[in-house]
């Protein structure tokens, strides 16, 4: 968590939407902007090229209201997905409180997804952050397309999980969003934890708020 401002009684949480180019990161923010009550959100800022590709970032502040005397705000950022914008992508991760990886479900975009995921891990490491220790969620977007890869295939490629060595945490944790699935489970004798995942069609808004709700609740938990 970055900062609790006791002087102005504010808590700001930074959520970053990461992922390959044209995966739907900006579309997620646009949907939130259009659907959240105007009084609960600020101006959306897009630093984009003339062809509406994100050049630096999109930014949308969302106001959760006053809780126990603190004004709580979520600052939603997207990063540019195109590979050659890594310098600006890395800058946006500074001070991040939660990450949403927006994957493009189309089978043809699998390599781009994997490359973007590796890039996310690299950039987080360079900032000294550990993705397995901060709120992290994966959104499989474009589920409506006929060439969308099956979820198990996407999970195997993008969300294989990380090992849990702490014996206290070695217990099954059911995935609250998917029946009969687990966020923490024992596999081949090893305990593994996976990031929660959500299916979405950002263009129609399906799954956009489920993802945002999931990540923001996990971010708020870190404040306690």
């Amino acid at each position: 968590m970055s900062m609790i401002n006791y002087a102005s009684r504010e808590i700001n949480c930074k959520l970053v939407y990461y992922g390959p180019g044209l995966g739907g990161k900006t579309t997620n923010l646009e949907h939130v902007y259009n659907k959240v009550a105007p009084g609960s959100r600020g101006k959306m800022i897009s630093l984009a090229t003339e062809t509406e590709r994100t050049l630096f970032f999109d930014f949308l502040p969302v106001d959760l209201g006053t809780i126990r005397g603190f004004k709580v705000k979520f600052h939603l950022y997207t990063v540019p997905g195109q590979v050659y914008y890594n310098a600006s992508r890395k800058l946006i991760l500074k001070g991040v409180d939660g990450v949403v990886f927006v994957a493009d479900s189309q089978i043809e975009r699998m390599d781009a997804n994997i490359e973007a995921m590796q890039n996310l891990y690299e950039n987080m490491t360079q900032h000294g952050y550990d993705l397995s220790k901060i709120p992290f969620a994966i959104q499989y977007n474009k589920r409506d397309l006929p060439n969308a890869a099956p979820i198990p295939e996407l999970q195997a490629a993008l969300n294989p999980g990380w090992p849990i060595t702490d014996p206290v945490k070695q217990r099954p944790v059911p995935d609250p969003h998917h029946d009969a699935e687990f966020l923490v489970a024992q596999e081949d004798g090893h305990w593994v934890e996976r990031a929660p995942y959500f299916e979405a069609v950002a263009l129609t808004g399906d799954g956009v708020f489920d993802t945002l709700k999931g990540i923001s609740k996990n971010v708020v938990k870190m404040l306690g």
């Binding site: 609790i4 001070g95 952050y129 901060i134 708020f209 306690g224």
Partner: protein
């Protein structure tokens, strides 16, 4: 290290900063001084209340400073300690504080860049001390939020983003 390093900003910090920046504004004739966290959050505003959206301003300031930091490195500099943006009537001067926050000074033609630069030096030294103390303190005694906070925050999230 797990996530972003945390720090808290307290009432007494705000007062120390208020005193330093009020003094600086009086000496320099600048309009407003703002402190922005490098992650893009507004920390404090002193002087004339700005007419713009402070949240958006803070995120753009942090991005501006970070982008220039990278440009500095490409030139073989470790950083650009200060930046200046000149407008026809309104200008802004940005200075790094302790590598963690940015001091933004907004001024118009009632003063000059020379005077702002001259007076800002002492303010930067004092602010660096304040923020260094603050960062050294955190992690040891930062008070957390109340225990009921979590449940209420979850309710608000459900309300705002749909249950």
């Amino acid at each position: 290290m797990s996530g972003a390093s945390s720090w808290s900003f307290r009432e007494e910090d705000a007062k120390r900063i208020q005193v330093i920046l009020s003094g600086f504004l009086g000496e320099s004739n600048a309009r407003t001084a703002l402190i922005v966290d490098r992650t893009g959050q507004m920390v404090a505003t002193v002087g004339e209340a700005p007419a713009f959206d402070p949240t958006a301003f803070a995120s753009l300031t942090a991005a501006d400073f970070s982008a220039n930091d990278q440009l500095a490195r490409m030139l073989g500099e470790s950083e650009f300690g200060a930046l200046f943006h000149q407008g026809e009537r309104e200008s802004m001067y940005l200075a790094d504080i302790a590598r963690r926050v940015i001091l933004v000074v907004l001024f118009d033609n009632r003063t000059t860049l020379g005077l702002v630069k001259l007076r800002v030096k002492a303010a930067v030294v004092q602010l660096t001390q304040v923020f260094t103390d603050m960062f050294n303190r955190d992690g040891t005694s930062a008070p957390g939020v109340e225990s009921e906070f979590l449940g209420e925050a979850e309710d608000e999230i459900d309300k705002l983003f749909g249950a």
